[in-house]
Symmetry: C2
Subunit: 137 residues, 2 copies
């Protein structure tokens, strides 16, 4: 009953059984559904954390490229990445089209990040060695 102290990273009271379906659903069906959702929630946690780490890595790449004035895009690299992810998707019964869309979705976010870094760097250095907007990786 005590007021929780405000914290920087406040735990969100996630309810794994949150639903709008009400009690027309039989308890044993709910049980089965919630078990499946538990797995989905675990996969989502894994995805978010791996994505966070992937963005740490592309940030380092962006800084390295800026430091050495390397070209922003690298079509040969991107082509190899797409072919690899499509093949990997196929082997794990994931739609290869989706795998490619997924990579493009992430790359566009990486670009957005780099644009932000470039803008910050331009503010700091008045335009010297700004990080180009399309270091995909």
């Amino acid at each position: 009953m005590t007021e929780p102290t405000p914290a920087q990273s406040q735990p969100v009271p996630f309810d794994p059984h949150a639903t709008s379906m009400g009690d027309e659903v039989a308890p044993e069906v709910y049980e089965e559904l919630f078990a499946m959702r538990r797995s989905i929630d675990n996969f989502d946690a894994a995805l978010v954390h791996i994505l966070a780490e992937r963005f740490q890595a592309t940030k380092r790449v962006g800084l390295l490229k800026a430091k050495h004035n390397l070209p922003a895009g690298d079509p040969g690299r991107e082509e190899a990445q797409i072919a690899r992810l499509r093949a990997m998707a196929k082997e794990s019964s994931l739609d290869p089209e989706f795998a490619e869309k997924f990579l493009n979705f992430i790359i566009s976010e990486v670009i957005r990040h780099h644009m932000r870094i470039a803008a910050e760097q331009q503010d700091d250095e008045q335009g010297e060695n700004p990080i180009s907007a399309d270091h995909a990786d």
Copy 2:
């Protein structure tokens, strides 16, 4: 020198050093870049395999919902998922906006899958209990 036998799941000759940057880049810079890309490639492999497994889970949810005539959408569930992923993103230094966009991106793919299943089921059963198009989960 023998011709490789065609296989169902043919290994794709992925070159982790594929690049269009040529040899104007110093070897030690390439070394650093390739080490970073090695990590990115590992993260991508993890992402693809977890995504594949997540789609297995949502497929099971779609079948369960169809079997028990459960409502397709579940706004209460989606709201909880978004709040959780945003909080988790924040804690792992990932942009919460991106985490939300990411979840929506996946959900739209899940919907696409369910539409395909529904169409297949309609072909099989002439419209009995088709799986609705928007079992998000």
